[in-house]
C-alpha cells in the first residue's frame, strides 16, 4: 500500500512537472516536432506555385485591386491545422513552431501535419461525408468505421487519389475485408435488396466529377434560363446508372452479376432497359473489364479533366472554407473559375493524383497566405478575386475540436491518453449533433443559429472546458504562468493561435492583477469563455 501511495505521489509530481515543462519551457526534448520543407523547395514545385501566384496577380492588376498583405505565420499555421486536422494547433506545437526561423517554417508546418495521423483521420472523415453522407447506413451491410479507417490509411500512405477512387467504384469482396466496397454498400436499397444504381450514379458524379446531374434522373435536365436547351438527357443519367446495374450485394459481399439494367420512367410509368454509357468523353472509356471497372477507369483517366478539376476544387474548399469555383458541385462542366483551377488540375493529373503534393501546393500559394484583414476596406471584389483570405464559418467538428484542443496545453492525438481521446470522441459527437450539421456547400455561407450561440455560451460542453477544472488549460495557466502577462498570452495562444494586442493584454492583465487562488482561476476561466464565444474563434480567417 505504501509503495502504491509513494508511486502515486511520484506520478503526480512527474505529471505536474511535465505540464509545467510543456507550458513554459523552451527546450523540452520530448515530443519534438520537425518542420522540414521537403519537396516544397524543388524547382518544379516552385514553378507551379509561381504560375498560380502570377495568375492571381495578373487578375488583380487587370481589375485594379490591391491584395491584402501577407498574414502572420501563426495565422497561416492555424488555417492549416484547422483544414488538415480539424482543430487549432496545440500550445505545445506553437511553442516549437515559434522556434523555427520565419520563411520556411510554414512549408515545414504543412509537411508536419500531413505526416500526422490527425490529418489522415480528419481528412478521411471529411471526404467520407462528401462521398456517402453522414448517415450510419444499414447495419452490417455498410461498415462506416471500416470505410473511414481505410480512407485514412490511404491518405496516410499518400495512395494516388485516382487509385483510391478506382477502388471505391470498382472493388469487389467483403465489406470488412475490402473496405473500399463500402462506397457501394452505403447505397444499399432495402426495397431493391441491392445497391441502388441511381443513387450511385448521383454519388459518383457529385463526389468525383463535381457534377450535379440528378435532375436528369427523372426527365431531361433543361437549362432553367432557356427551356429549349437540354443540358443532360435522362438517358445520360440512366446509362451512367447502368454501370451499377449488375452490382450485387449478398449479406456483406459486393460482386458483379449479369443482366441488363432497366429504369423506371416516373413520368409515364413504364420501365426501359438501357445499356452503359458515359455522359461525355466516351473515347476515354476502355472496352475491357467489368462495368464498374470501365467506369472507374473513365472517371480517373488523366485526360478526364472533370475529375482533377473537381478534386482541386474540393480540396481548395476544405482549405479555404470556400471552393475555387462558385460551388463544389455544378450542373455543367463549363463553369468558369480562376486560372489556378486548371493549373493545379493539370499538375494533379500529371503527378499521378498526388494528394499531398496538391495540398502542399495550395498551402504554398500567395492567396493562401494573404491576411483576412487589410489597412484598407476589403470589398466584395477582393472577396470574389481571392485578394484577401475569406472569412468562413468553421464546421461544428472544427469548433468542438478546437475547444477541446485549446482546453489542453498538450497535443491531443493518437499518443494522448485513452481517457483524453475518448472524452474528445464523445464530446465531439454530442456537440456536432446539437450544433447542427450541413453540407459543405451551404455551411460556410450560412449564418449561425441561435441554438448554436446558446450552446457555446451556456452549454456544458463548452463552459465545462472554460470552467476551472484541474485538467483544463485555464487552470494550468492560472497555476503555472510566471506572471499575469504570460498567463494572458498563453490563453490567447491556446485559443486564437496568436498573441494578444497591447490593448487586449492590458485589459486582461489588469483583471488578473493581484488575484490568486480561486479568484484567479475564475478570471482565467472567464477569459477562456470570452475567447471561445468570439467571432475570431468561430471563423476561419
Amino acid at each position: 500500500m505504501l509503495v502504491r501511495n509513494l508511486l502515486f505521489v511520484v506520478v503526480v509530481i512527474a505529471a505536474v512537472g511535465g505540464l509545467r515543462a510543456s507550458l513554459f519551457p523552451q527546450n523540452t526534448q520530448t515530443r519534438k516536432i520537425h518542420l522540414d520543407p521537403g519537396t516544397t523547395t524543388d524547382d518544379d514545385f516552385r514553378a507551379v506555385v509561381r504560375k498560380v501566384d502570377e495568375s492571381f496577380r495578373n487578375d488583380w492588376e487587370a481589375h485594379g485591386i490591391t491584395p491584402a498583405p501577407l498574414a502572420p505565420d501563426l495565422a497561416v499555421a492555424r488555417r492549416l491545422s484547422l483544414a488538415l486536422t480539424g482543430s487549432v494547433p496545440s500550445l505545445e506545437e506553437i511553442r516549437q513552431f515559434e522556434h523555427y526561423p520565419e520563411g520556411q517554417r510554414l512549408d515545414g508546418w504543412a509537411n508536419h501535419l500531413l505526416r500526422d495521423r490527425r490529418y489522415s483521420d480528419y481528412f478521411a472523415d471529411r471526404l467520407a461525408r462528401a462521398y456517402v453522407g453522414t448517415e450510419d447506413g444499414p447495419l452490417l451491410i455498410y461498415r462506416k468505421r471500416r470505410f473511414n479507417a481505410w480512407l485514412s490509411d490511404q491518405l496516410h500512405h499518400n495512395t494516388p487519389y485516382g487509385e483510391m477512387v478506382r477502388q471505391m467504384i470498382a472493388a469487389r469482396g467483403l465489406n470488412t475485408d475490402q473496405p473500399a466496397v463500402n462506397f457501394i454498400a452505403a447505397a444499399y436499397d432495402e426495397g431493391k435488396e441491392k445497391p441502388d444504381p441511381e443513387k450511385l450514379a448521383i454519388r459518383v458524379t457529385r463526389a468525383f466529377l463535381g457534377l450535379r446531374i440528378d435532375c436528369a434522373q427523372c426527365h431531361d435536365f433543361k437549362n432553367p434560363a432557356d427551356y429549349e436547351q437540354i443540358i443532360w438527357k435522362q438517358t445520360d443519367f440512366q446509362s451512367l446508372a447502368a454501370f451499377f446495374g449488375q452490382t450485387r450485394h449478398i449479406v456483406t459481399h459486393i460482386s458483379d452479376g449479369e443482366g441488363e439494367y432497366a429504369f423506371e420512367d416516373r413520368v409515364n410509368g413504364s420501365t426501359h432497359e438501357i445499356g452503359v454509357g458515359v455522359p461525355f468523353s466516351p473515347e476515354l472509356m476502355p472496352e475491357e473489364g467489368t462495368r464498374r471497372e470501365r467506369l472507374a477507369a473513365w472517371v480517373t483517366n488523366p485526360q478526364n479533366k472533370a475529375f482533377s478539376r473537381a478534386t482541386v476544387n474540393r480540396v481548395w474548399a476544405m482549405m479555404f472554407g470556400r471552393p475555387l469555383l462558385k460551388r463544389i458541385e455544378s450542373p455543367t462542366l463549363d463553369e468558369r473559375g480562376p486560372a489556378a483551377l486548371d493549373i493545379l488540375a493539370a499538375d494533379f493529373a500529371s503527378h499521378n493524383y498526388d494528394l499531398n503534393r496538391l495540398i502542399l501546393l495550395i498551402a504554398s500559394t500567395e492567396v493562401f497566405r494573404l491576411d483576412s484583414a487589410a489597412p484598407f476596406e476589403i470589398t466584395d471584389a477582393h472577396d470574389e478575386r481571392w485578394a484577401a483570405f475569406p472569412l468562413s464559418r468553421l464546421r461544428p467538428e472544427q469548433i468542438i475540436g478546437s475547444v477541446i484542443q485549446a482546453a489542453s496545453v498538450r497535443t491531443i492525438d493518437k499518443n494522448s491518453q485513452l481517457f483524453v481521446r475518448a472524452t474528445r470522441f464523445f464530446n465531439e459527437k454530442d456537440f456536432v449533433t446539437r450544433y447542427g450539421d450541413a453540407d459543405d456547400d451551404d455551411f460556410a455561407k450560412a449564418h449561425g443559429t441561435i441554438p448554436q450561440r446558446l450552446l457555446m455560451m451556456n452549454g456544458d460542453l463548452v463552459d465545462g472546458k472554460a470552467r476551472s477544472e484541474l485538467l483544463n488549460a485555464s487552470a494550468q495557466i492560472a497555476m503555472f504562468a510566471p506572471d499575469d502577462q504570460a498567463a494572458v498570452e498563453t490563453a490567447y495562444l491556446c485559443v486564437f493561435t496568436r498573441k494578444p494586442t497591447l490593448k487586449e493584454s492590458e485589459h486582461f492583465v489588469a483583471k488578473l492583477a493581484g488575484t490568486k487562488g480561486d479568484e484567479r482561476r475564475n478570471h482565467l476561466a472567464d477569459m477562456y469563455w470570452v475567447l471561445f464565444n468570439s467571432t475570431e474563434m468561430s471563423f476561419n480567417h
Binding site: 483576412s372 472569412l391 447542427g436 441561435i450 487586449e504
Partner: protein, 416 residues
C-alpha cells in the same frame, strides 16, 4: 429574414391607422370578414414510429383486419374512434379525420421527411418543413424566442431546408426540466462582465476587417441569443405556471406537458410547435403498445382542444396529429403490424378546419387503395391555405431549380 427580429411587419390596420387612413382599414377589415381570418399557428402532434390507423383514428371493429380491436362512438354521429379515446371522442365535433392519406415511403427516415415536408426525399433539394414555412411566410411580431419549436424531438426533428438552418426547430425536452442552454453557468454579474470583455476581443478582430465582420452575422446572432436568454417569453416553456388541475387534464407525462407548453408558446407568438410521442413502431404486440400510447395521447389531445377553445384560440390554431406512415392491416405472427404507407390517417382540428368531417375511406378488406385518396402534399397544401399562405408560391432552390411551397392541392371539404 430572421425569425426573431423582424419587427417591421406592422399589422395592416395599424399601418393604415398610422397613415391616417383608418377608415380604409375598417373597410378592408369588413370585406375580409366575409372570408375567414386565416389561422396563425400550427401544433403538430408527431406520432413517431408510425401509428396504427386501426388502433387510433380508423378502427374497423368486427372485421378481419381489426384483429380484435374495439371502437367507441363519438360526439359526431357515425364517426368512431379506437376504444381508448374516451376524452377525444367528446371533442370530435372539432376534429376532422383524413382516412385516405397516401404516401410512398415505408422507411422511417424517408417517411418522416415526406410527412414533415410534404415532399419525398430528393437529392437535388432540401424541402422545408411545414413549421419552417409558417415561420418564414408569416410575420415575426415581437417574438424573442425561436418561433419554430420541437418538444421531445425524435431522431429527425423538423428542419428549415432551403430556407436555412435558422428555420430549424429549436429542440427542447420535457417541459418539467429547464430549457436547455438558456441559463448562464455563472452569476449574472460575472456573465455581464464576460460580455463586456467580449467587446474588447471583438474590437481587436474587427480591425482591418470592417464590413466583412458584419457580414458574418456573428454578433447579431449572439445578441439575439442573449435577448432570448433574458426574455420574459421564456416563461412560456414553464408549464408549472399553470394550475395543477389543468396540468392533470393534459396528463402527467412528458407528452402531456409538451402539449400544454405548446399552447403557452403560441401565446407569445411561436408559429409552430412539434410535440413528439414516440413508441408507435409496433412490429410486435401492436394492440398492447397502441393502447399504452393512446392512454397518453387521448387526454393530451382532448385537453389541448378544450384548452384552446377556452382561450378562444382554437380558431387560430391548427392541430395536426400525424406520424410517418400507417401500419399493415394484417396482424403478423408476433401480434405486430408492419410499415404501411399506402393508406393511413391524419387527425386535424382547429384553424378553420371543418370539425367532425371524415375525408376518404380505407378498404375494410385491407387493400392498398382507399376511396378519395389524399396524397401527403394535399394535406400540406390544406394546412398552408388555412394559414393564409399561398401554397403555390415558389422558392428558388439550389442550381436554379424552383420549388413550390406545396406541390399539392388543398382538400376543399376540410376547409369548409
Amino acid at each position: 429574414m430572421h425569425p426573431l427580429t423582424c419587427n417591421y411587419h406592422l399589422p395592416r390596420r395599424n399601418f393604415l391607422a398610422a397613415a391616417g387612413l383608418g377608415w380604409l382599414g375598417t373597410a378592408l377589415a369588413r370585406s375580409a370578414e366575409t372570408e375567414k381570418t386565416p389561422a396563425k399557428s400550427v401544433i403538430i402532434l408527431w406520432m413517431g414510429g408510425g401509428p396504427s390507423q386501426l388502433e387510433t383514428f380508423d378502427p374497423k371493429p368486427g372485421t378481419n383486419i381489426a384483429g380484435g380491436s374495439l371502437a367507441r362512438d363519438t360526439s359526431v354521429k357515425g364517426v368512431q374512434l379506437a376504444a381508448g379515446f374516451a376524452q377525444l371522442a367528446d371533442q370530435m365535433e372539432h376534429v376532422a379525420l383524413v382516412r385516405s392519406l397516401t404516401s410512398f415511403e415505408g422507411d422511417h427516415e424517408r417517411g418522416t421527411y415526406t410527412l414533415k415536408t410534404g415532399n419525398r426525399p430528393d437529392p437535388t433539394v432540401n424541402f422545408p418543413s411545414l413549421g419552417a414555412i409558417a415561420c418564414h411566410d408569416l410575420p415575426a411580431g415581437n417574438t424573442e424566442i425561436p418561433r419554430h419549436v420541437s418538444i421531445l424531438p425524435g431522431q429527425w426533428p423538423a428542419r428549415g431546408g432551403v430556407l436555412g438552418a435558422e428555420y430549424d426547430a429549436f429542440k427542447m425536452y420535457d417541459p418539467a426540466d429547464k430549457v436547455p442552454d438558456v441559463t448562464p453557468n455563472v452569476s449574472a454579474e460575472r456573465f455581464a462582465e464576460r460580455i463586456k470583455d467580449l467587446d474588447v476581443v471583438e474590437d481587436a478582430f474587427a480591425r482591418g476587417r470592417g464590413s466583412r465582420l458584419g457580414n458574418t452575422g456573428h454578433k447579431d446572432t449572439m445578441e439575439r441569443a442573449r435577448r432570448m436568454m433574458s426574455s420574459e417569453q421564456l416563461k412560456a416553456f414553464d408549464v408549472s405556471k399553470e394550475s395543477a388541475a389543468l396540468r392533470k387534464e393534459y396528463g402527467d407525462t412528458p407528452f402531456g406537458r409538451g402539449c400544454l407548453a405548446a399552447r403557452r408558446l403560441l401565446e407569445v407568438g411561436v408559429r409552430c410547435v412539434e410535440v413528439t410521442l414516440d413508441g408507435w413502431d409496433t412490429h410486435a404486440k401492436n394492440h398492447e403498445l397502441c393502447a399504452k400510447n393512446v392512454a397518453i395521447l387521448d387526454p393530451a389531445f382532448a385537453a389541448l382542444i378544450r384548452d384552446l377553445k377556452k382561450h378562444d384560440t382554437l380558431k387560430d390554431t391548427i392541430v395536426l396529429c400525424i406520424g410517418e406512415f400507417g401500419r399493415t392491416p394484417i396482424v403478423n405472427p408476433v401480434g405486430g403490424r408492419d410499415h404501411w404507407p399506402h393508406n393511413f390517417t391524419a387527425a386535424i382540428a382547429g384553424g378553420g378546419i371543418r370539425g367532425g368531417m371524415v375525408v376518404g375511406e380505407s378498404d375494410p378488406e385491407g387493400g392498398k387503395k382507399p376511396k378519395d385518396p389524399v396524397p401527403v402534399q394535399d394535406l400540406h397544401a390544406t394546412v398552408l391555405k388555412a394559414l393564409g399562405i399561398n401554397w403555390e408560391r415558389t422558392l428558388r432552390g439550389p442550381i436554379g431549380r424552383t420549388i413550390r411551397l406545396s406541390s399539392g392541392n388543398p382538400v376543399g371539404a376540410l376547409l369548409g
